[in-house]
């Protein structure tokens, strides 16, 4: 059970004299239950890539296999694919439109042709999953806070029971607590449901704190694909392509340069604190 991208390329404006290769021979395997961080500068091809995962965009060449089946086969059920791979766009709260929160979340599953009972049950579960309390169910989504609106919008996708959840910059514009709450929820969901999660992010700290594996895109190609500590070792190369390492990486390098022998591969504050304490004890 996995998503396999086999030599996928996507060319914009192919029939003009200025074709743009948004994806250039991408090979990628996304395994069941993985938590993947997808990073890259603006225009590196991340959003194009994620829109291929649920068939919203069709590769110019190459193939994508979902659970072993070629999604470009003529008889492949595209509609089902879109419910299996749930895509949460940037600023998903801009897509809320219904009169109340519950009706809004029902919209997606209803369109899958499920009966009312199942739709309502799934909507209820999804709202609970993202931590929206019952008291908000019949309020207008527009009366909620920014963080709540975003969680309602994500519930709208979760209500379709996706096997893979793809989130395109889900924390942009949220306050720090809202950011932590949302990412903790997603992390917890993945643990409890076994769902695969692909997180597109511009925050190296978020990626370092949550994901198991990082895919770095540059100019439509995959530049790195590894665990966070390995990827962030290449911080100089990442800077050259408009990215960076988490701040803690720079702090550890500064300490190391100043003579405190610490492991510079740690990627979270907690690991760094433990590492520094250990190194300080070693000096005494």
């Amino acid at each position: 059970m996995s998503i396999i991208l086999d030599h996928v390329s996507y060319v914009y404006d192919a029939d003009t004299n200025m074709p743009v290769k948004a994806l250039d021979d991408v090979n990628l395997v996304i395994n069941d239950g993985e938590f993947i961080g997808l990073i890259g500068h603006t225009g590196s091809g991340k959003s194009t890539l994620v829109q291929h995962l649920n068939g919203l965009m069709k590769a110019t060449s190459g193939t994508i296999y979902y659970n072993g089946e070629d999604i470009y086969d003529n008889d492949y059920n595209k509609k089902e694919l879109r419910s299996k791979v749930g895509l949460v766009f940037q600023y998903p709260e801009h897509q809320l439109f219904e009169v109340d929160v519950f009706t809004d979340v029902c919209f997606g599953p209803k369109n899958l042709g499920w009966d009312d009972k199942k739709v309502q049950l799934k909507a209820y579960e999804a709202l609970k999953m993202v931590g929206i309390e019952d008291e908000y169910f019949y309020q207008s989504p527009f009366d909620l806070s920014g963080g709540q609106k975003r969680r309602v919008a994500i519930a709208g996708v979760l209500a379709m029971s996706p096997e893979v959840l793809v989130l395109d910059e889900p924390t942009a514009g949220l306050d720090p607590k809202g950011r932590d709450e949302l990412l903790n929820k997603i992390s917890e969901l993945r643990r409890t449901t076994g769902m695969t999660v692909v997180l597109v992010s511009h925050s190296m700290e978020d990626v370092a704190n949550y994901v198991d594996r990082i895919v770095v895109m540059n100019k439509g190609r995959i530049m790195y694909d590894d665990v966070p500590s390995e990827v962030f070792k290449n911080y100089k190369e990442l800077e050259e392509v408009g990215l960076a390492a988490p701040q803690v990486t720079y702090i550890m390098h500064a300490l190391n340069d100043a003579g405190l022998k610490v492991d510079c591969d740690v990627t979270t504050i907690n690991e760094a604190a433990n590492e520094i304490v250990k190194a300080l004890k070693g000096r005494k």
Binding site: P176, L243, Q247
Partner: protein, 281 residues
């Protein structure tokens, strides 16, 4: 001299139901008084819904106080006769660069503001050139904004504001949609405008690292000013900030975690260099 001054500022939204009946009243800003001096770099922090953007919109008279008064460069924002002058003096840069760029060519976009002000053509071009140079985008002046990166687009937006020769620029989460490099470019541009041109900068952000150089930080909560002080004073209060749904810079957080593990460090470390020094390395 004060550039933005608020006295007992209160702003209420009236919520209405579908029939237009009053449903309730939300107090977005609750009796705020503050004084921002010309040439300062000010940061405003606060969780979503704390009132910071509502406050920002008072600075260039998009919103008017329900009670109290806001003065921009001595002009009362409630007086309609002042609105245009206020908007020339206090520019605003928003979150999404794509919503702020209208021109087909970078230099046209930047010239749009001064043109609307009736600035003579000759001078418009002069201002366009100066503004693009100030944000490091002059070499892109003939390009289409569509082909630029997020950080570059945002710098063009800043140049557009700059060309109107404001005394003060309010940045409302200008980096929220940008990649790490774009964030750096925009903050560097904002700091340069403040340092070199002496323009007052008011920066609203959720990225704590961006404001460690600010002269003063205001933290808003429930429409009130919950904390104010230098970045060092404000970021020394890690628990208090977390309770307000905020954070501290990563290096400050690391120092805080080290302290909890028994390492002797002062509060409010803001840079990695300070941490190195405080650890006696």
């Amino acid at each position: 001299m004060s550039i933005v001054k608020a006295k007992d500022l209160t702003f209420e939204y009236i919520r209405r139901d579908e029939e237009g009946n009053v449903d309730g009243i939300t107090t977005a800003i609750d009796n705020v008084s503050l004084d921002i001096k010309e040439g300062q770099f000010i940061a405003i922090l606060g969780h979503n819904g704390s009132g910071k953007s509502t406050f920002a919109k008072h600075i260039n008279a998009i919103l008017h106080p329900t009670e109290g008064t806001v003065w921009v460069d001595g002009m009362d924002t409630s007086d309609d006769a002042n609105v245009w002058n206020i908007r020339h003096e206090a520019g605003m840069v928003f979150q999404n660069p794509d919503n702020q760029i209208i021109g087909q060519v970078v230099e046209e976009d930047v010239g749009f503001g001064p043109e609307n002000m009736g600035v003579p053509t000759e001078e418009i071009w002069q201002r366009v050139e100066e503004s693009l140079k100030a944000v490091g985008m002059y070499e892109y002046r003939k390009k289409s904004p569509n082909r630029l990166s997020g950080g570059q687009k945002q710098r063009v937006s800043i140049a557009g504001v700059l060309a109107m020769h404001p005394k003060c620029i309010v940045f409302d989460e200008p980096t929220a949609m940008l990649d790490p490099n774009g964030r750096k470019e925009v903050i560097r541009a904002a700091r340069a405008l403040n340092d070199v041109e002496g323009i007052t900068v008011i920066l609203i952000t959720h990225y704590m690292e961006e404001i460690i150089h600010a002269d003063k930080v205001f933290v808003m909560d429930k429409g009130k000013i919950a904390m104010e002080g230098t970045p060092r004073e404000v970021f020394s209060k890690v628990d208090e900030l977390k309770a307000l749904r905020l954070d501290v810079p990563q290096v400050t957080l690391l120092a805080y975690e080290l302290k909890k593990r028994g390492v002797n460090l002062p509060d409010g470390i803001l840079t990695k260099e300070e941490l190195v020094k405080a650890l006696g390395l």
